[in-house]
């Protein structure tokens, strides 16, 4: 049974159909997306508790908004869109969210973000040979989680969730070009932060 069919069965059950059938369809949908969507939210929010809350809030919204799901659409991007909104709301509510972030000088302005040319122009040695220890992996996790919401969405969807530019653009409701430029900018920021983090003369 496809995700779309499960959602239709659940929607019918909420409007007077068989409640038991609907519960089964809903729980199957949650089970199918448990790993994938939790992984996305965990990375987006950088916090296990916030990710679990956002995951639950996402499926509460699925229950409340299943009537708005348009026939012919795919469930996966719809779920990701809802999950992204929940993650953004969660970040707004979270008082402890890090004020200091890698992009504290740039506020989501794509025009000011560096491009791929800047990244390719850098002659610094690549980090691949250095990223071996747990400490370095921790550094990457922390640096990625501190990217701004505008950057972390495209990075998580395209790099970690393996989506096409087109799919990420649909979920985040921005043009494909914006996804590309934000990915370039995120990579450039990580690279700059990596270079700054190295002891002088060690690059």
């Amino acid at each position: 049974m496809t995700d779309e069919e499960l959602l239709v069965v659940y929607r019918q059950s909420t409007s007077g159909g068989q409640a038991g059938t609907g519960r089964l369809a809903f729980s199957e949908l949650v089970r199918r997306y448990e790993r994938e969507l939790y992984g996305y939210l965990r990375r987006y929010l950088g916090d296990a508790v916030l990710a679990e809350d956002a995951f639950q809030a996402t499926f509460l919204q699925v229950h409340l908004k299943c009537d708005q799901f348009e026939e012919g659409r795919k469930v996966r991007p719809w779920l990701y869109t809802i999950a992204t909104h929940q993650a953004i709301d969660s970040q707004r509510r979270d008082k402890k969210h890090k004020i200091m972030s890698l992009d504290r000088h740039n506020q989501y302005d794509d025009e000011q973000m560096g491009g791929l040319a800047d990244l390719l122009a850098s002659d610094d040695a690549g980090p691949s040979a250095r990223l071996e220890s747990d400490e370095q992996r921790d550094w990457i996790r922390k640096a990625v989680s501190e990217l701004s919401p505008a950057l972390i969405g495209p990075v998580t969807l395209v790099y970690y969730q393996g989506m096409k530019y087109r799919e990420a653009a649909e979920i985040l409701d921005v043009p494909v070009g914006t996804i590309k430029s934000r990915l370039n900018a995120a990579l450039l920021k990580l690279h700059e932060a990596w270079v700054q983090a190295q002891p002088s003369g060690d690059i």
Binding site: M1, E5, V9, T14, Q18, G20, T21, R23, L24, A25, F26, S27, E28, V30, R31, E34, R35, Y38, G39, R43, A48, A51, E52, F55, Q56, F59, L60, V62, H63, L64, D67, G115, L116, A117, L119, L120, G126, P127, S128, L131, R137, D138, I140, R141, A143, V144, V158, Y159, Y160, M163, K164, Y165, R166, A168, K180, L183, N184, L187, L190, H191
Partner: protein, 318 residues
């Protein structure tokens, strides 16, 4: 072309764009060099972590949503304000009658289609439950034993209910079956009740256990009777509308016009006849032509709720 390199490395481009980049790379050494440098920098995103959800997240989420269904009713259900005048009701009634006369054949047809569709949804849900059952039982589907009070095809119903894989007995009732008229009162007997039932009560309980659907009996192989394992076969019938007593062998549900069949790969199809294809397996009888255990692991025999996996003739044949 440089601006497509990142998308190429991340496999985020469309297939046509991907091919364009590949063609350029094969001819442009500078582009290859740029891609190599970019590839090194992508290591900045590789933290080697695969975040696993905490145990029981899906179950907690379902409980979380269920708990809020009661306190947060869905919007948009409010009744329309105001009332109708007598004239409005007369005009409305006339329009309604005219529409009924025009649309009656179409309505009857769409009602039949809707019932087939509802029946298919039931079977899809049963497919999910049977799949989960096999996950919890090392790939084994609910087993119909050879002897005892549980030795009927309908035992799958109590097994799934007792395992809490289905919680609504209405799933076992096809909307076109005779049982649908008393669907509100229909209940699947518990396993304990079947086991402890008096001899006089047992046939009635067994005939109710599987509702209005049939389930596949076991099969004989090398002189032994076995239950089916989940192999995801796309042409192996696992459940179907219960077999009827009509001359053409079709199910008595859906007014004898055909039957819905759940296959092992969880897809559901509407079959007008009782064979999976022109010369394929007959879903209601075994290879020897009677209702009993299959004559091999690919011989599906969907028995009604009271059907027993007879093996006597098979054992003697083998």
């Amino acid at each position: 072309m440089h601006d497509q390199l990142l998308g190429y490395l991340l496999d985020a481009l469309e297939p046509s764009e991907q091919e364009e980049v590949e063609a350029s790379l094969s001819q442009d050494a500078q582009l290859q060099e740029a891609m190599s440098r970019l590839h090194e920098k992508l290591a900045l995103l590789d933290d080697g972590t695969n975040f696993e959800p905490p145990p029981g997240l899906a179950a907690r989420t379902c409980q979380f949503v269920a708990a809020r269904q009661a306190v947060a009713p869905k919007p948009g259900c409010a009744a329309a304000a105001g009332g109708w005048r007598v004239q409005d009701m007369i005009v409305g009634g006339g329009v309604f009658l005219a529409a009924c006369m025009l649309l009656f054949p179409a309505i009857a047809h769409s009602l039949a289609s809707a019932r087939i569709s509802q029946c298919q949804n039931n079977l899809r849900m049963m497919g999910l439950a049977l799949g989960q059952y096999s996950d919890f039982h090392a790939g084994q589907f609910p087993f119909v034993p050879q002897r005892g009070p549980l030795a009927v095809a309908g035992v799958y119903g109590p097994l799934l209910m007792d395992a809490r894989l289905i919680d609504d007995p209405a799933l076992l009732v096809c909307p076109t079956s005779a049982l649908a008229e008393q669907a509100d009162e229909f209940a699947v007997p518990k396993l304990k009740r079947l086991v402890r039932a008096a001899a006089a009560d047992l046939p009635a309980l067994q005939s109710r256990a599987g509702g209005s659907y049939g389930y596949t009996l076991g099969y004989c192989e090398n002189g032994r009777y076995r239950g089916h394992r989940n192999c995801g076969r796309m042409r192996f019938a696992l459940m179907a509308d219960s077999p009827g007593e009509l001359a053409n062998g079709r199910s008595g549900n859906h007014e004898g016009t055909g039957q819905n069949v759940l296959f092992e790969d969880q897809h559901v199809a509407w079959l007008k006849h009782c064979r999976v294809s022109n010369f394929g397996d007959h879903i209601y009888v075994n290879g020897l032509g009677y209702v009993g255990a299959g004559i091999g692991r690919d011989d599906a025999v969907i028995g009604d709720s009271s059907a027993r996996p007879l093996t006597v003739r098979l054992m003697s044949a083998q």
